[in-house]
């Protein structure tokens, strides 16, 4: 990557990145991995999800992402799944077993695991 030389180059690059991360066939599984999440076991959750995604051959359409804090400290580790065209779902109190369930149910069968869902109680400024 060479340095961005002006605002146009940045804009082009932004559009490229946007497409890369949120194209119509991009499923994102985000694991909250700030210090708090990691302390609560998010590392194992991440590994478990990544392993399951590989195992089930979902590597092409699913990206597993380490993010910062999602805010729900009372329910760490937290995982958010977003499928294009659908409302993203926030899950709490995930461990490595439950992580596998999420991949199987939510991604493979398109079934929300309702008992683990957390209310996403915020709006984000646009």
């Amino acid at each position: 990557m060479k340095k961005l030389k002006n605002i146009e180059e940045l804009k082009d690059f932004r559009d490229k990145c946007a497409e890369k991360f949120s194209g119509p066939d991009k499923i994102r599984i985000i694991v909250g991995m700030a210090t708090c999440g990691i302390a609560a076991g998010a590392g194992e959750v991440f590994d478990s999800i990544a392993g399951e995604v590989m195992k089930l051959g979902l590597g092409d359409k699913v990206t597993v992402v380490r993010s910062g804090c999602m805010g729900a400290c009372h329910a760490e580790p937290t995982v958010e799944i977003s499928i294009p065209g659908e409302e993203s779902v926030l899950y709490g109190n995930i461990d490595s077993q439950r992580a596998k369930v999420l991949v199987k149910n939510h991604i493979m069968r398109n079934e929300v695991v309702t008992e683990l869902v957390l209310e996403k109680a915020y709006e984000t400024i646009s």
Partner: protein, 488 residues
């Protein structure tokens, strides 16, 4: 509950993007604010826009950010500096850490914007060494930003250059005070000096310097992306935008929340926080960390902003918010905070070094049941003098937890002093454990748990506690399965 109470501006990318990948930040309009500024705006425009937004410092003081930058712009100096204050130290507060771990690029971008506004070419992030993950992610972010030409020489071909360096704090709470922080960066003892001169006149290496807290900075790129007017439409008359709070204590949904200024405490504690744990009663909420105060139930419906919190004896502070239930002893809480500030005082000025120590000692005396009514008079008098006489913000606000609890929970102080009881049963010297003979079945569990061996009785017969030997540890109380032990 139809409407969502939380609105994320500072946290907009936290928990959404991969903080270690600059492309994810860019995909969400990252670095567009600085790009637009460098292409279209003069430094004066930038300051004007920030003034229009009404953004005020989120680190505690609430000083208008635009004005701060304007002072530094107007003051002359061979060099100028931008400092990001990431020395978050309030007990229970982790707003800044979360932002740095979740969205480090927003801080870098904001620093470049501030640098452009004041004419500074160098920035320092003063971060406590106890935040290794935040440091790691910042390092990665800085490296990536340099790689993409978003830091360093001639940013986006604008001719403007800006460098950022990390400086680690060794954990002194007082280094969050800007003059102490600057001393620390310079390699001197981290202790404050009297202001004026303010950092905007004589800051780092005696040059004009702007010190902004992490959350303040996190708002800056967002303001330019959304427009100052839109930002200013959120919040109250004097306080615009949102505030991030770290919700902790006896509340069900502990966590990081971001709410528009003007949200009430009731909304935060009950709607967002999900109420008090164990279904207990609400007693108080402590805001502003060790510098703040305890707010009682009658103010739950006050829309909170910088001014309203100050009026009710607390302060916004950096965003720690600790919820206390009915079992909390307010004298003990005051003592806890005083212990923290006396430990963390830099020791420079008399008022803070000795004054707060004496306050703490008086509180100790009171919680041990040795306090007198005269102590209560002295406590208040000395607390007010310390506020009036201390050199820096730490000392000036250290008595707040004492004064606010005295103001709203005076009856608890009186109970400790006059009746020698701790109504919440927290202060061990004032607590008495007794065995209810009607309930005790003589299972001996309490006697086995007692570290002082002061519980006697035959098996299957009611036991008894020798009050002279009891050390009030509460082990028996916890061990008893028949509710036979009472605490008073």
């Amino acid at each position: 509950m139809s409407t969502k109470k939380q609105l994320r501006i500072a946290l907009k990318n936290c928990g959404v993007i991969d903080p270690e990948n600059i492309e994810e930040y860019i995909a969400r309009d990252g670095y567009m604010a600085i790009a637009n500024i460098l292409t279209e705006m003069t430094p004066e425009d930038v300051i004007e826009e920030l003034k229009k937004s009404g953004l005020r410092g989120r680190g505690g003081g609430g000083f208008p950010t635009g004005l701060k930058l304007e002072f530094a712009r107007k003051n002359k100096g061979k060099k100028k500096y931008i400092i990001c204050n990431a020395d978050e130290g309030d007990p229970g507060a982790f707003m800044d850490r979360s932002i740095l771990e979740g969205d480090p690029h927003s801080i870098l971008e904001a620093m470049v914007i501030c640098g452009y506004a004041v004419g500074a070419g160098n920035g320092y992030i003063y971060i406590r060494a106890e935040y290794p993950l935040a440091i790691e992610r910042l390092k990665i972010a800085i490296k990536q930003a340099y790689k993409y030409g978003l830091l360093g020489k001639n940013i986006l071909g604008s001719g403007f250059s800006f460098d950022i360096e990390l400086k680690y704090g060794a954990g002194a709470f007082v280094c969050g005070e800007e003059t102490a922080l600057i001393n620390s960066i310079e390699g001197n003892r981290g202790e404050p000096h009297f202001k004026p001169p303010y950092p905007a006149e004589k800051g780092l290496w005696d040059m004009p310097t702007t010190v902004n807290n992490v959350e303040t900075l996190a708002n800056v790129p967002a303001i330019f992306n959304m427009g100052a007017e839109k930002f200013a439409s959120i919040g109250t008359k004097t306080s615009k935008g949102t505030k991030v709070f770290a919700l902790a204590g006896n509340v069900n949904n502990v966590g990081l929340v971001e709410v528009p200024m003007g949200t009430t405490l009731r909304e935060i504690v009950f709607d967002i926080g999900g109420g008090i744990t164990g279904g207990k009663g609400f007693k108080a909420v402590q805001t502003g960390g060790p510098s703040g105060g305890c707010i009682p139930v009658q103010f739950l419906d006050v829309p909170i902003d910088y001014e309203s919190l100050r009026e009710i004896g607390s302060m916004m502070g950096s965003g720690g918010m600790i919820i206390m239930d009915e079992d909390t002893c307010m004298v003990d809480i005051a003592k806890y905070y005083l212990e923290f500030t006396t430990d963390e005082s830099c020791g420079k000025c008399t008022a803070c070094r000795i004054g707060n120590k004496r306050l703490f000692e008086m509180l100790e005396k009171i919680t041990e049941g040795k306090g007198t009514e005269e102590d209560l008079v002295k406590l208040k008098e000395l607390g007010e003098i310390i506020k009036d006489t201390s050199l820096c913000g730490l000392g000036q606000s250290a008595p707040n937890p004492v004064l606010s609890t005295m103001k709203y929970f005076y009856n608890e102080y009186e109970a400790h002093v006059r009746d020698k009881i701790c109504p919440a049963g927290i202060c061990s010297s004032l607590t008495k454990f007794e065995i209810n003979k009607d309930k005790c079945i003589g299972c001996t569990l309490c006697a086995k748990a007692c570290p002082a061996a002061c519980i006697s009785g035959k098996v299957r017969e009611p036991h008894e506690i020798d009050q002279d030997k009891c050390i009030k540890c509460g082990a028996c109380y916890k061990a008893c399965k028949f509710d036979a032990i009472t605490k008073s």
